[in-house]
């Protein structure tokens, strides 16, 4: 397969906000009142190699619904779709490098005919200075299925914790904390996809 014709990536640059984060393009809240599943809030901060928050990044997420099904024509597994849930989120970081989403915890997703993946959320990171976007995954700290997750097992054990969001209950709400370190100490694991 020739790769000669693919279009290469370029940085999102510093001036994307009016286009990509206009009111109807920004998607911090993925849920509606009727959406099925455990309500969770995801919070985190994006840091650069100096440990300084990145105030001009954009984070996108993609996930399955409560039953583990994606809203996509390729996912034809006999699992329910939730008409109130797309599973896509997009948030810019604020002046302190922070981002957040309100969503539901996804169900497990099949890996191959036999194995399942632990519940996870795909995370894309864009920023000035990133010539390509970065791809990572958020896993849930209280999820026993992490131990057998076939993607997590590809990650050196000492780096896996960078992919594990820590659970807390804040004012009765479930919050998972997922910081993203672009470079250096505690550098987040990024995938080649």
């Amino acid at each position: 397969m020739s790769t000669a014709r693919l279009t290469g990536a370029q940085t999102v640059g510093p001036f994307f906000h009016p286009a990509l984060l206009r009111e109807d393009a920004r998607r911090n809240v993925l849920v509606q009142p009727e959406t099925e599943g455990e309500r969770i809030r995801i919070e985190g901060c994006v840091y650069d190699g100096d440990g300084v928050p990145v105030p001009d990044a954009m984070v996108e997420i993609w996930q399955a619904n409560h039953y583990g099904r994606h809203r996509h024509p390729l996912d034809q597994r006999p699992l329910p779709l939730d008409p109130t849930f797309i599973g896509f989120g997009r948030c810019g970081t604020d002046d302190a490098g922070r981002y957040w989403f309100e969503t539901i915890k996804p169900g497990p997703v099949s890996f191959d005919g036999e194995r399942s993946q632990a519940p996870h959320i795909c995370v894309l990171v864009f920023a000035r200075g990133l010539l390509n976007h970065l791809v990572t995954r958020l896993y849930f700290a209280d999820e026993p299925a992490n131990a057998a997750d076939p993607v997590l097992q590809r990650v050196p054990p000492e780096r896996r914790e960078t992919l594990i969001a820590q659970r807390a209950v804040v004012d009765g709400a479930v919050v998972y904390r997922f910081d993203i370190v672009l470079q250096g100490d505690g550098e987040t694991v990024f995938f080649n996809i």
């Binding site: 014709r5 290469g8 510093p14 190699g49 993609w62 996912d75 990133l130 590809r154």
Partner: protein
């Protein structure tokens, strides 16, 4: 393998190209200063593509109006943006050359003077009250997108002494899957600033030249606007027709 109808049982997709350094820029490109502290030190980890990456939001995101594709008037002021009118059009294709229909294309650009309408753009070039510099459209059934805009100006930045970005338009595309997600920039032909721009030059040749649109006289409209054509080729296959699985979602 079949891409239609059945669940994905295989976890490796040979036709999707990953980490191709002949096409994509490296994360660290020293001449582009902002990459120095924002690029990972450690290599990306190879993982199989799973259903999570072979699906994606592309087919589900489609809220646009025809006015969104006219950057000369979509500020909604009733006035028209100042600058040389241009039509930018092309096809969005998968890596097999098949059109990617009904996929969202979002663009943003500087105005004719090279200034963005953005709180962090402070250089002393005039703003245009009739120009937002943002647009979006969906590709049609042939994978074709089309925008009416004005030619963006070049602008200075602080990467190195006397640094200027060549005229360009930022493009954001989803395509059929998460693996096909792409943010890139389109450049205009015959611009002497190309050779001096570290962002553009981070992409290796021949892929670098493919970021440059061609002047297209058949797209040019008489006594109205100059035409440029730029095709975009995304990773991965166009898997299935774009249909909502069931119902309407908001």
């Amino acid at each position: 393998m079949s891409w239609k109808g059945t669940a994905v049982e295989s976890t490796t997709i040979g036709t999707i190209i990953r980490g191709d350094r002949e096409v994509f820029p490296p994360y660290l490109y020293a001449a582009y200063r902002a990459s120095n502290r924002r690029s990972p030190n450690l290599p990306l980890i190879e993982v199989p593509l799973t259903l999570s990456e072979l699906t994606g939001p592309g087919p589900a995101i489609s809220e646009v109006t025809p006015e969104d594709a006219d950057l000369t008037r979509n500020a909604g002021t009733g006035g028209e943006a100042i600058g040389q009118r241009i039509i930018v059009t092309g096809r969005v294709l998968d890596e097999h050359g098949r059109p990617v229909p009904n996929t969202l294309v979002e663009i943003w650009q500087a105005n004719a003077a090279g200034r963005y309408l953005h709180r962090n753009d402070h250089w002393p070039a005039p703003l245009d009250p009739n120009f937002l510099g943002i647009g979006r459209c969906l590709t049609d059934e042939h994978g074709v997108y089309r925008f009416l805009s004005i030619r963006p100006g070049a602008y200075p930045w602080r990467n190195h002494p006397n640094a200027w970005r060549p005229s360009h338009i930022h493009f954001s595309l989803f395509g059929p899957s998460l693996a096909s997600r792409l943010i890139t920039q389109m450049y205009f032909p015959d611009d002497p600033l190309h050779a001096l721009d570290p962002i553009m030059n981070a992409v290796p040749e021949p892929a670098r030249s493919r970021l440059i649109a061609t002047y297209a006289h058949d797209v040019t409209e008489p006594e109205w606007a100059l035409g440029y054509r730029w095709d975009i080729v995304l990773r991965g296959p166009q898997a299935t027709p774009f249909e909502e699985p069931e119902g309407e979602v908001r």
